[in-house]
């Protein structure tokens, strides 16, 4: 799941307008951002499901550190720390929660590959509700998150701009449109397995 995380972050922006959107977008992908260097270092890996090319939803993801329950909590705290220093407690709490939301949303779609403890030690279960086994349903769920996030953002952006600086209203529409296009492009690329 990629686009769905961005959709959730956009919806959070509508509820917590003081949090910069770029920070929410970065936070919502925080676990995957850290996953990339670990993947390149072969500390975490993707294994295509047998008999598939490993496209949308067809991978077992051994992200045993970044996507473990404890690892996600730790990364959420790590991400929140600079925000606490720069923007205060509430914004830091929101950003930390958004980082952790990645684990919660991934829990819904992943196969049983999300460990509770970092490193997936033997004797502890790995979890995942496996919505990716139903790729159409998973894609619809992601699309719903993108549309919900865009609609929430659009309403909040227009209302705030109309109240504070009506002359900038066109910018609110442009930002909301860019959000929608970005979500559809990202989801489309993910579905195509590019």
């Amino acid at each position: 799941m990629i686009a769905g995380h961005f959709g959730l972050a956009a919806a959070v922006k509508a509820r917590e307008p003081q949090v910069p959107l770029w920070a929410l977008m970065l936070a919502t992908q925080g676990l995957d951002v850290v996953f990339v260097p670990l993947y390149l270092a072969h500390a975490e890996r993707l294994v295509p499901v047998a008999g598939t090319g490993g496209g949308y939803g067809n991978a077992v993801i051994h992200a045993d550190y970044t996507h473990s329950l404890v690892g996600a909590v730790a990364l959420a705290a790590l991400f929140a720390l600079p925000a606490l220093w720069r923007w205060g407690r509430r914004t830091a709490l929101v950003l930390g929660a958004v980082v952790f939301s990645h684990w919660v949303l991934d829990l819904v779609v992943h196969r049983h590959d999300m460990p509770l403890l970092p490193g997936a030690p033997a004797g502890f279960p790995s979890v995942g509700f496996e919505l990716w086994r139903q790729p159409v349903a998973a894609a619809i769920a992601e699309l719903a998150l993108v549309l919900w996030g865009t609609y929430s953002y659009w309403r909040a952006a227009v209302a705030t701009t109309r109240t504070r600086e009506p002359a900038r209203l066109p910018r609110a529409y442009i930002a909301a449109a860019a959000l929608l296009v970005s979500g559809l492009v990202t989801l489309g690329l993910d579905l195509l397995g590019t």
Binding site: M25, R90, L189
Partner: protein, 33 residues
């Protein structure tokens, strides 16, 4: 690739557009009455 495209679109482009809207600013923890 969709991950990196998504980061570019959402964090950089949409984030830049959003930063030009008159949202309330986060309060820095250092600011006290």
């Amino acid at each position: 690739m969709p991950f990196f495209v998504g980061l570019l679109l959402f964090v950089v482009i949409v984030g830049w557009l959003d930063a030009r809207l008159p949202w309330p600013r986060p309060r820095a923890s250092a600011v006290r009455p």
